[in-house]
Symmetry: C2
Subunit: 467 residues, 2 copies
């Protein structure tokens, strides 16, 4: 066991009332109703920074969980990721209240024209002084497609072709349009930018065409730190080329281990250092001073959850309407490999080995949501995290919550000190941008052989600088 390997922690959040747990906002100590206010986010950001949490990782979903009972009723009633608000707009207020906390935000490229999206991310990178990451999502709910006037989402494989074309456009805007020394900013000579060092980006791809100068001057990172969570064959190919960090669902340790090994093998085959793809595993944590107190807390949480809310989430994730099945019949309806693997990993995780009923599946997700919930004393949680790291070769965790903000506050107050004591969690932030905090000083920007770096015009000079 590599006892001294550093563990990274992100807080997994979403700008909505109910993110991953089945209706637990109904718990009397839950403060999720504050999601509409700046106070909620600013207070959370300060709390996270007080414990040197690496980043807040913001999910986003366009569309509704409307597979269950063929409608959005359950999702609306239990506030299952709806209503939700734009994640980008909470970041500036959190950034103003912090100095080191980073922000990894999901943005769904099919709704973001690349010319203006590139400016949005450059703006955030400027305002946060380089503390921005982008979780690249191509979109997955049909109801979001209907929001754009389409009947269904673009087919999965085609979406990744579109995404490849999109990445080429935004890399050109971020990396190629302005040389590092384009901004002179000399008032005595009346010159801000040297026009000979600013270039119009030309792109004539299958899905996107552009002929324009990037509107923003170079920001600390240029390209935001790139996260991706692709699990399909196409998705893994995309992630191995572009991702600097991948984010994995923590339902099954063997699946996570295999996925991380696979993505790193693929990255290495492309000439990248396999450890230039960091891996974060989503886990939920319920902890208290003792194991018994943690178990009591877990049981208390469960009382406030809802089977219906969980079924709405599960039906959306599985793409199958679970209302069609008897709640107390063993669930064997594996219409797809994804469902089989999802259900099996729940089963494996529970170590019971039997076929679950629909009710058991739903109950298992009330507190944990889409992932495993670790329940135990701070030492037990720290042990489990170190085991997860040893067994899967992950770099850190996206800690989701059962209730807000108690779950993350408990984690910060109880678990972080144990990890620090064991020498696996930092006692101060690293300097520099998000990318530097993850990969080390001098790596503020993409570097070869990452495909984004190849777009930089004066990349030889830049590579020398960052070596």
């Amino acid at each position: 066991m590599t006892e001294t390997r550093e563990i990274r922690i992100n807080a997994f959040e979403m700008n909505c009332l109910g993110h991953l747990c089945g209706g637990l906002w109904a718990h009397p100590r839950d403060v999720s109703a504050g999601y509409k206010t700046l106070d909620y986010w600013v207070d959370l950001a300060k709390t996270l920074e007080s414990a040197f949490i690496d980043a807040i990782f913001l999910a986003d979903v366009l569309g509704l969980y409307d597979v269950y009972r063929a409608g959005p009723e359950a999702a609306l009633r239990y506030a299952t990721q709806v209503p939700n608000n734009d994640p980008l707009l909470i970041i500036p207020a959190m950034a103003a209240a912090t100095s080191h906390l980073s922000f990894a935000t999901t943005a769904i490229l099919s709704f973001e024209p690349p010319y203006t999206f590139a400016r949005r991310m450059s703006t955030l990178d400027h305002l946060t002084k380089g503390r921005i990451g982008w979780n690249i999502v191509t979109g997955y709910l049909d109801s979001a497609a209907r929001g754009a006037g389409k009947e269904k989402q673009t087919s999965h494989d085609l979406r990744y072709d579109v995404a490849e074309d999109y990445m080429a456009v935004v890399y050109k805007l971020w990396e190629q349009s302005w040389d590092d020394d384009a901004v002179v900013a000399d008032p005595t000579r009346h010159i801000y930018a040297d026009p000979t060092r600013v270039y119009a980006v030309h792109h004539d791809g299958p899905y996107y065409q552009i002929n324009a100068i990037h509107l923003s001057e170079p920001s600390p990172q240029r390209t935001p730190l790139l996260f991706q969570a692709g699990t399909s064959e196409k998705g893994k190919g995309f992630a191995s080329r572009h991702a600097e960090a991948v984010f994995l669902n923590g339902r099954s340790k063997p699946n996570v281990q295999a996925s991380i090994a696979d993505i790193r093998r693929r990255a290495a085959a492309l000439g990248r250092n396999p450890h230039d793809v960091k891996a974060f595993v989503e886990l939920n944590v319920v902890t208290a001073e003792t194991e018994a107190a943690a178990r009591a807390k877990f049981d208390d949480y469960r009382k406030y959850g809802s089977i219906e809310a969980s079924l709405a989430l599960l039906s959306g994730w599985m793409g199958t309407d679970l209302s069609k099945y008897d709640l107390d019949e063993p669930f064997k309806h594996f219409e797809s490999e994804a469902i089989r693997s999802g259900v099996e990993s729940l089963t494996v995780n529970n170590r019971r080995g039997k076929v679950w009923t629909v009710r058991e599946l739903a109950e298992a997700t009330i507190v944990g949501g889409s992932t495993t919930t670790l329940v135990g004393s701070p030492e037990q949680i720290a042990d489990a995290l170190q085991e997860w790291q040893r067994d899967t070769d992950c770099d850190g965790f996206n800690i989701s919550y059962a209730i807000r903000t108690e779950t993350i506050t408990d984690f910060i107050e109880l678990v972080i000190p144990v990890l620090q004591e064991r020498g696996v969690y930092k006692r101060a932030y690293g300097e520099g941008t998000f990318r530097e905090k993850i990969f080390g000083r001098g790596r503020a920007r993409l570097q070869a052989p990452h495909p984004g770096a190849a777009y930089r015009k004066n990349r030889l000079l830049a590579d020398v600088d960052s070596a």
Copy 2:
């Protein structure tokens, strides 16, 4: 003279280095370089709120001023609205630092899919507790169209047809999708939203199609306070239907007077109260303790400006490359009515009555940018503002700047107290949302006969509530 009519003041800003003046960021006291930082915007917001300024009005431009010398060189060199960053993303940090200051932001609808744009504005309306306005712009620079893969902007008239269709979609999302009582938020009954009171929006228009529930729950204002600045025939028709406030260039007092009267006549013809269209006139103000000191300040500013930077701006606004003409020849090249009217209003404004040379035109815009600069003692400025209000029937002013943040700080420290002394400027903010601050308590939301209000399902009830 209606001595006691209230005057409203917005600060006219843009998330860039050089907004309207020809390179004046080169002045030693100018702090525009801070535009990339949250500190700049947060400090500005606090300053504005300390003087009860109504709103910060944020311009936005996608694309470049590349008409002059048929390229962007001058715009880049003098930082003429390029580089620029996204305006929406500075608002949350300013909102967190203030309680009453409102935020009117430009957003260019051709780059914003309505489904996600509606959520963006709802998010801002939630986070600011109803302090959001939207300056509706359809886009006007060809270089921005090239950023979207098109050769030229959609033709002017067609753009307004597209905009009408767009407004129908966003009104439906903001006003129709969620009833006022849709959010129950009762944890004891495990119910957040009543699904019978949330509706999918159906729209099958010529340019936009949608079949989706609005993702955000109702925000304080639902629809943001709507600004528009249309001056063409089509643009005025659009503004008279949708605008709750119009924003006019202050080059010529007679033109402004005629425009305001025209827009209110048109609004009245549609059954609206003509004074439900508020009018804000853009003016620049250079002031000091005495007239002589103000004139000295003005002369000092001018020394740091640049004719070239002004020519880049003027060429973009006129759509004609002024480098084709001799700087010292009288300018008579009225290729279009817009140019004639622009140049004539500069001339009228200067009260010299002669035909200007290109150099004189450019010099006249160095400090004033696109509008009139008032230069004088605080009392003279207050007189001039009251005269502008009396002569044009405007409700207030968008005060642009010569240098940052001295221009607006001078205005706040010197002119606001005089206006307060005369009883025409508030000594405290009104309560409520942006719309209520402008139109009075109980008017948080659009009301009939504004076309947006007609989309609200339970509008009869709502109208009773707000009556």
